[in-house]
Each structure stands twice: as structure tokens, then as C-alpha cells.
Symmetry: D3
Subunit: 246 residues, 6 copies
């Protein structure tokens, strides 16, 4: 690892300060306000007994997610998608990513015919909003599942969660692989990658994009290694948060 | 005033606990996270030098507002308006109300050719979201104006704010006029009224609706009196908040 | 009251000429083409046996309203909302207001599981379109209820209408409270208020807005008094119209 | 011609009663409320000095039309296209037809760089709404052109209108060709045709559709003959209306 | 007929080369890639057992069509209607025309409670796209009906197709009636007509429009004659295509 | 590599038959109809001199892409996104992917202030539509650039293309990594990955998703190796196609 120090004083393999306010919402069955540095995402999980019509009678549950950003989460104000009357490609893409990440650790049979909708609303954005969203959504999901168990919608012994899941961004800046990019770093990155990793260290999703020059296998390997390590740290924070009791 | 005690222990003429976190957002030129009891609204003010095309060259500024609710701000999840592809009537109505309330205390000539967009996003809803939004939006607006002054977009001596503005709901429940209704009260109210009042105690907006039986002049007067008193208390909290320095 | 005479020769407490062509439409179960001076609104009531799914089986009916303006009802042509693909905030707001006003005088239990949709289409606009719409909609509603009774969808003795309802605008121009503002007056008004009042003289809705300077309690009282008197006159015209037989 | 008498007592080659209230609107530069029997269409013409950007600087004007139906113009209420958020195919199709019909008799060079938008709003529908719309729109158009001339937007000697234009429906019912179908006839017609004809008797548009059995050349000829005669009568009514002075 | 030769060497009463690739799609129950010269349209027929809810239980089937153009089918790229979020009037109009043309030759009782949706996607446009679409759609429809018969959704002896159907454009250019206009001819045509004709030579639809000067009965007759002859040739090509076995 | 044989007889590291019809469209500046087995995508490139407003005056060009599927490209018909009035998340996601892939090999400075829009329309879908689209889009792009050079919109010596680009899907089925999944394989894959690789063998994009069980680094490496080899073969086919002259 390099001796380079970043704008905010971190080493290249260091996460920004992570905080999770579990149970932030008085309304939702599970919720977490997560921060990765200046990025703050409110994740709520809404539990409904029953499933969408297309899934009825199959003995399986459904987990889905929606991601959005407040108009002034960013440095310049963006017009609301509700005002524009349509959802942008980026929003769609991230919502789908979060949903896939969560479903990868859920046994939908064990969940039974119940639906959990995760909303991830970015209150403040400073890079890595999708990875913070996934990491926080896992907390909200876990609590909503416990809520369903207490309410007897889920069997007392059902093992709904197969593993935990967290995500982090990695990227190459000035030829240097770095972990958890802040916004000022993200815009300069030649290659930008998001990795979604389970608590056991297996990949759920790997999305790497050359923003500048294409990258080779060696660079890819370096990024994956950083990402795995970052997700392991996030997993420990998640475990601690959930262990603390609500 | 009646001796009636409410579900949350308040007297009929008492506000819920009000908190204002001024400068909550690191991105916006002005911001406040305001709570009226369980209602929590994030208000941000975005300052732009320049005005929309239709106002160009008239030497006047523009203040407008958008209101929205996170899908799980409420007890049951609502579908996102961005997903539905259209904004509902209630959202439109409240956005327009907030905009009018703020413009009533702004001298747009003194503001100069600058635009301030206020976003009020309800993170958690427990009745009175529009009145909390107006009350918090004033703080964000005031700070955005100060920002514009520091950046020299507004003249050092321009008196942009003519007065402060706050709002509160009042209603009649079981024939009893009450101040600042929580959600469980709101759904039971026969008459529901929102009053928007300046710091000097003048009305900017009075909106009263009979949800149950129509009301007479005497009831209207009782509600207005409660509302004026509630807004005076809110004005004091606003003054204190702004006096504290950012 | 002041000695001021208005552009159209009226005194400050005088309505414009009101005409109601009851039964204008050969298709609708109830209808009225109402004029408040140059403002002309076609109100139709569509009666359907049955209620929306969310109300089924509750033994109650449903009354709702939609307001719209023809593109060239106004002095400058407005683009159609159907062409824009979305309904504006003002349209939404007025539709909701009309619906609330009518429901305030309807006993939905007595109506039984029937639905009445009121359409108020402004053919020509010269101020006060929403108040003319409410006043005319009451006539269309009353006739649709009678239609439902004749067709045996409503019991012969059911008292569906609890009272009549009418509405009028009032405003302060050059410090003078005035009744029933025409368009040229409306744009100059410092304070603009719409009052919806039942035949017995109770308020259903009070919506007052400071367009210019905020207003005090004394001004509010003057406006309310003018509005009550105006609605009483409109009630008499409604009574006469309905008494004449269709 | 056959001795058949129709439901409303007309002979097969007879129009329904036609009335035209010229100048119905106090706002529009030209307007007409036209009736073909129970079909009533309000046609307004909005004159604007200038043309859309894509036509600027070509020395030519623009005439376009929009058609719409009030929700309860018909026997059953239709949902508003503004509420549905999109315009239906039938509405689009008729708007385009009216626009083409009017442009066929306008010399856009003589019109100069001016725009006329014709709105045809069906207040009550009983068959033949598009043909009534075209026939009434011509009156509104002619008056808007005269308005433009009086306001000096159009040269005093410019011959903008090359001819008049009118339209009528024809159809085959029980093997019998008939003129100007009312709604009850229209739904029974095997073949349905609309013809748009200039004052000089030339075709602008012929649209014939087999709703039931396909038709042969002989039937087509009979329909065209009826349509030409009907349009000649409409032209005379138009001439008389315009001759009467506004 | 005139001795005039056209830009592409055709005589005035000559079709462009017509090719039909029957069964182009491996997915659809019926399909054809049809070319009228440079115009290429992919027609697919999707067969579904069952009918839309509004037709259920009436013992009848449903045939409908949708037309669209790829963005770069034309010389200049058009924005996608999916991106614009709404379908244009022209697209609606042509979709409706194709549907009517096909339904005119289908016995929906014999089809039984089955639905066939025809999609006509213009891959390359050089005039006459709607007429090529109808002509190719008939092939796709015929094959989908045979598919339904093989799958026993349609009775072995049911005569679903009453006749064949084809369409062609005709127009007047420099006073000369011409058959099957290519794009360069279409833009110059004074009158433009589309005729839809059954295999037995009866009209299903006649749509003639004066783009320039209005036309008289004699010109109309000349165009209809050309169109009937063109459709007879297309019918022979259709018969040959279907006779060849799939 | 395994001895497993697939449903279509391929070995696990074998592509489906690839065909490219270069210059398929007579209208577009560049085009290719590409097949990966039963997947057929029409790629067109539209060249416009000039750039969108937000890029004007920066001396750089713009390359973007839109992906769509015909409604019956798939085994079951999908509703058109134009009819639904909005674009789905999957469509957005793939359009963005194609655009990024192409921009990775374009020197926008060398392109100059020109815009190239690539449309990829799936005519028939059998798995791997996005990878076929990227591979075919490169051909269309290359030809559009040559067109721009011939028309002198691009300098004769400008090296606009920095490299070629191709893409292929890989996946793990029954624990076996396989290249270029057909639809029946894709739905069974536990892990699904798309790799976009330049002619020189560098990664532009790596998108791997666990559809079933999460995957480890060893599996990821096996997939990447297969993908690199597949893209190398596609690069050779592209080179041959472009070398053949148009």
C-alpha cells in the first residue's frame, strides 16, 4: 500500500468515519440513518404481510428497494424527479442494484409471503451514496425481519437472513487504488468500482467502469482486494450495531 | 381555555416540543431540520445568482418552494410521486402555500436578481407538516439571504426580509379548539385550520376547512386566537435560533 | 360601507349579475351553466350507481369534483393540461376545494352506495371561477340527487342534502374590502379571500391570502362579513332556481 | 333518394338544425358556438403576432387546431385526458384533421408571420363532432383574420382566405346512404365517412371507413354526392353568418 | 395513363419492388419483413388465448395493432417516443388505421376468445410505411391464426379470415395521379391518398387529403382506380407468399 | 476447460455464430445488423455536426447511445415503453452501459464538435442483447466516423478511435463457467457477468452479479478469463468486417 495521504487525511485503504443511527424512524419497521463521511442516507424498511399479485401462492416473499436523492443533497440543486415526471437512468440503476444486493442474502422461502420495501433517501451526498445505502439498508432490513418475527408473520425459527451484506466503492486515482472515494476523489478517478460483499467475504456484485483509461487484470485485482477489506470492516460495524439491541 | 388534557399530555393551547437544527446541511446555502413533536422536516435553501427568464431584467428576485414527503414518513408507506410520474394535488397545494408564505415577508426588489429555492422534505410525519415546513423554511431562507450578502450578491444594506413568518395548525375536536394538532388529533378534527402569521402578528394566510360540521364565526375567532398565540411562540423560537449564530 | 364605485359601476358590497341555466346539458344527470358577470362555468353532475372499490360495502356514497379551464377562457391562451401531460397545482387545488365544499352538505350515508362526479369547466374566465363553480355545482348536484331518487338508486325519504352551499370571493383593494372581484380587481387585490358558506350561514371553508401586505384581524372580519352576505344572496338565487322546477 | 324517414324525422339527405353563435367568447379574437342538432362545439381562435421558432423568418404564418371533449359531453362520462396524463389517439387524429382542413383554405404567405390557434371544445356530443368543429372553426378563423387586419398585423389587401371550408359526415345504414349522422345512427353505420369540402365544392379531405362490410365504388359515389350537397348547405349558412356582421 | 417516367424509372401505375420474408421472427406466432422499395417494416403477430377483460364472455376475439418507427428509420433521426414519454398523433393514427384494416377481414366470432396483437415496426422508411405495414400485417395475422388452429385455440373449421387485405398509397404530383409514392414523391404530392382494399376488391378505408390544392371528383376517381389496381397486385403477391408454405 | 456440451452443442468456451451485416441501413451514417445466435440487434449511428448546448465551445464531441427492444423480440410480448409512457430501469441501464463502452474508445477532442447517437434496437432476443449491441455499435460508430471524415467534419488525420471495443456475457451454470449465454442458459445462471473489453485486451467495464449464490475470487477469475478470450474473438470478427470495405 502506498504512503499517499488523501485530501481528508486518510490512507488509501481507509474508510471514512461510518456512523449508523439504528431505528431513526418512529414509523418504519426497520430504519437506519447511515453516514460514510459527508454522505448521509436514511434507510427505512416497510414490512407488509402479503406479496404482489404475481407472486401470490408461491410461498415466497419479496424484497425490493428504491433509491432517491433529495434535490439539495448535492452541491448544486437537482430538479426533483417527481417534478420532471420521470425517473432518471441513474436512479433506476441504483435502486435495482440495492434490491439485488439485499435479495442475495435473503431466503425468500423463509421470509414467507411477506414483502419488505427498502427506501434509501440520500439526505446529503459526498460520494459513495449507493454503497452507504446498501450498508445501511441491511440494518433496516434486519430490523424489519425481526419486527415480522415478533408480529408472528415470520416463523420463530425461520432463518431469513443467510448472511449480512455491505458495499464500498474503490477507484484508481493517479494510478493509485483507493478505498471509499469521497466526491472530490470520485470525479477524478480513472476507474471506479463498487463491490457488494457478504459477511462471509463472497461477492454479490462487482461493477467496475473505466471512466478514463481502460484497466488491466492487475489493477482489477488490487481494487477487489481493497474492496473486500473495506466490506469486512463495514460488516464488523454492522454486527456491532445490531448487537447493541435496538 | 379548557382543562382538557390531550393524549400527549399537552393543554389545548400548547405547542408540541419544537426543535430546530440550523445549518443541518453541509451543501445548502441555508438549512434547518425542524421538529414539531414527531414531525420532522428538512428545509434547505438554494441560492442562485440570476432569475428565471420570465423575470430577467426587472430588478427583482424570486423565492419559490417545493414540498415533498419521503415514502415512509407516514405510518403506511406511500408510493413515490417520481415513480407515479406525477405530483399529487396535496403536494402541489402545500408547495404553493409555502412559497406564498415566504414571499409575503421578502422584498424581492431588495433581493435583487437572485433566486432562492426552498425544499421542504418531510422525513417523518405526525401532523402539521406544512406548518413545520413554513416555520423551518424561514430559518433556511434567512441564512441563504445572509449567504448571498456575504457573497456580495445582495447589497450590504438591503433589507430583504420585511418580517419573520411562522405557521401552526389549529382545529376543533369534540367542540374544543386546540393548537398544533398531532396526527391522531388531526384525523378526528371537525374543523382544521392553518394560519400563517408574521412576526408582527399579521396574517399571511388563513385556511380553514370544515372536515365535519360547518363552523360559525365564534369558533373561527377562537381558532384564530389560538393560532396567533402559537405563531408568536414560534416566532420567539425562530428569533432565538437565528440569534445564536450559525 | 364605502361610497366607492367600481369599474363596472357596482358598489363594494354588490355581486355581479348572476345567471344560472339549469339543465344546460342533455346528457348529464344534473347540470348548470352559471355566470358571475363575465365568468361562465359549465357544471355537470354524473351519477353512477356504485362506489369506488376502496369504499365498497361501507354503505356510503362518494362525491368528488374536477375543475378545468378551456385554453382560451382567459385573455391569453393557456396550453391544455392534457397536452402538457400533467395537471397544474392551481387546477388540483381548486378541484379539491370544490369537492370538499360539496361533501360538506352531503350525508353520504343517505346517498347510499352511489357516486356523483361533478365537472366544472370554465368556458370564460373573469375572476371568481372557483366560487362560481361551487355555486353552480350545487345546482347540478341537487338535480343529480333528484335523478337518483327518481331512478330509485336513492331512497324516497333519504335526506341526502343537509343544507345548500355557495361561495364568493372577497378582497381588499386600496384598503377597501370588496365583494366578488372581477379579474381586473383580483390582480390588484392586496388580500384575496374565498369563503364557502352553507345556506344556514355556516362556514365550510375560509381561504384568505395576503397577496400584498399581510392583513389584521379587523380586515379579516370585514371580509368575512361581506362574504357571508354575498353567499346569502347566492343562496336565495339557488333556492329560486331550484324552486322553478327543471 | 329514398323515402325512408329517420328517428328524428329527417329525410336521408337532410342536415340536422344548424345554429352558429358567432362571437360567443368575449376573450378570443374569433369564436363560434356551433350546433349540429344535439352536438355543440365551442370554437375559439387565438391570434398571436409571430410564429413558432421553426417557422421564423420565412414570411409565412401558421394555423393549427386542438380538439377536445368535456368529460360529460357524452352519455357516459369519460375520464379527462389531463388526468390520464396523455392524449388519446382519437383526439390527436381529429385535431390533426381540423388543422389540415383549415390550412387548406389559408394562404400562409398572405397571413404573414402570425399564428392562429383554433380550439374546438365539444360541450355536448351527439355525432358529427369533428365535422361541426371544422364548420364552426372556419367562422372563428375568419373573424380572427379580420381582427388581425384591424390590428394591422395583416395587410389591408392580403387575401388570406382562399375559400371557405365546411365538413359533414355521411354513412350507410341498412344499405341506405344518409347525411349528417346523429350518434344513434353513427353506431349502427356499416360505412362511415367524413368529407371536408371548400366553398367552391372541391374536396379537402375524404375519410371513409368500413365499420361493418367493406363498400364498393358505387356506394362510395353515393356517399360523396350526399356529402358535397350537405357541405354546400353548410357553406350557405356560413356565408349568411359572416355576412350578418359581428 | 401517362408516359411520364419517375425518378426511379417506374411508370405512374407501377408498384415499387415488393418482397415479403414470411416467418422472419423465431419468436412470434406469425411474422413478415415486408419491403415496398426502400421501405422495410417488420410485422409480428402475437397470439394470446383469452381476451381483454371488457370483452370476456362475449364469445368474440380481439385483433389490434401498434405501429412505430425506429428513430433512424428516416433520413434525419427522430427522438424516441418512449424517451419523449408520449406517443405522437401520427403514430396513434396509423396504429388505429392498421387495426381497423385487419379487423375488417376477421370474423371475431370465429376467432373465439383469443387476442392477436400485431406490431408493425418500421426499420427503414421511404414513403408508404402504413400501407406496407397493413400489407405485411395481413401475412403475420394469417400465420398467427393458423398457429392458433394448430394449437386448437381455434376450431379446425372456423373461417376466421373473411378475405385478405392490402393497402397502397396514391397521389397527384404535377397533376399526374401516381401509384405507391416513394418519400421524394410523397413530399411533392398535392393530394395524398391511402386506400385499403380487400382481396375481392372492396374498400375498407379511403383516406384522401389535399396537401396542396383541393381536388375534384374526377381526380378522386383516377386515384381510386390506381389504388384498386395496386391492391390487386399486392393481393396476388400475398396469395403467392402464403401459398408457398411457411 | 470442461467437456460439458451445451444445449446447442457448443463447448463452454465457444461463442454462438456471429454475423454482422455492415451498412444494413440506407439512411444512417453507419449501421450494422449483428447476430449472436438468435439475438439480432440493429445498430445505427447518426452523425450530426455540432454538439448539445452544454458542450458547445469546448472543442469536444459527444457520443451517446439508446437501447430498446421491439415488443415481440422476446418469447412473450412486452408492452411498448412508448405506450407505457416511461422507460424502464433495465432499458436505461443498458443504454448507459453502451454509451460508456463506446466513449471509452473515442477521443472526443479528435472527434471535434460533432455528435454521434447510436441506436441499438433488438429485433430478436435470445440472451446477450447488450453485449451484441456494444459489439455491433462499434461497427456503426466506426463507419459514422469515416462518414464524418469524408464529409470533412472530422480532420483527415484525426485519430478519433483509440481502440476497438467488444462485449460478451459469461456466467456460471451448475458450477461451470461458460461463455456467451443463450436465454435458456441465462435464466439458469447462478452468476451472470458482462465484460466490455478493448481490442488491446483492457477492461472497459466489468459487471458481475450473483443471481443465486454469491461467488468467490477464483470463480470471478475464471469468468474474466473466458470473457477476455471471447472478446478477442469478437475483435477479430470486427476487424475482418471493417477490413472488407463497405
Amino acid at each position: 500500500m502506498s504512503e499517499i495521504t488523501r485530501a481528508d487525511g486518510r490512507s488509501v485503504d481507509q474508510l471514512r468515519p461510518v456512523t449508523i443511527e439504528r431505528g431513526w424512524s418512529a414509523q418504519a419497521e426497520g430504519s437506519a440513518l447511515i453516514s460514510f463521511g459527508g454522505t448521509r442516507v436514511l434507510c427505512t424498511a416497510s414490512f407488509t404481510n402479503g406479496v404482489p399479485r404475481w407472486l401470490t401462492g408461491k410461498g415466497k416473499g419479496w424484497v425490493t428497494a428504491e433509491y432517491a436523492m433529495l434535490p439539495r443533497a448535492t452541491n448544486d440543486r437537482n430538479n426533483r424527479e417527481s417534478v420532471k415526471g420521470k425517473i432518471g437512468g441513474r436512479t433506476h440503476e441504483i435502486s435495482r442494484l440495492i434490491g439485488r444486493a439485499l435479495r442475495a442474502v435473503v431466503d425468500t422461502k423463509a421470509l414467507g409471503e411477506n414483502t419488505i420495501v427498502i427506501d434509501c433517501d440520500v439526505l446529503q451526498a459526498d460520494g459513495g451514496t449507493r454503497t452507504a445505502a446498501i450498508t445501511g439498508a441491511y440494518i433496516a432490513l434486519a430490523d424489519a425481519i425481526e419486527w415480522g418475527r415478533r408480529k408472528k408473520f415470520i416463523g420463530q425459527k425461520s432463518q431469513v437472513l443467510l448472511d449480512s451484506v455491505a458495499a464500498v466503492s474503490v477507484g484508481i486515482i493517479d494510478s493509485e487504488p483507493m478505498l471509499d472515494l469521497a466526491y472530490v476523489e470520485d470525479v477524478r478517478a480513472e476507474t471506479d468500482m463498487n463491490v457488494v460483499v457478504t459477511g462471509r467475504g463472497l461477492f454479490v456484485e462487482v461493477q467496475g467502469t473505466a471512466e478514463g483509461a481502460p484497466f488491466d487484470k492487475r489493477e482489477l485485482d488490487a481494487l477487489l482486494e481493497l474492496g473486500l477489506a473495506g466490506c469486512a470492516t463495514l460488516r464488523d460495524i454492522q454486527t456491532e450495531t445490531l448487537g447493541a439491541g435496538e
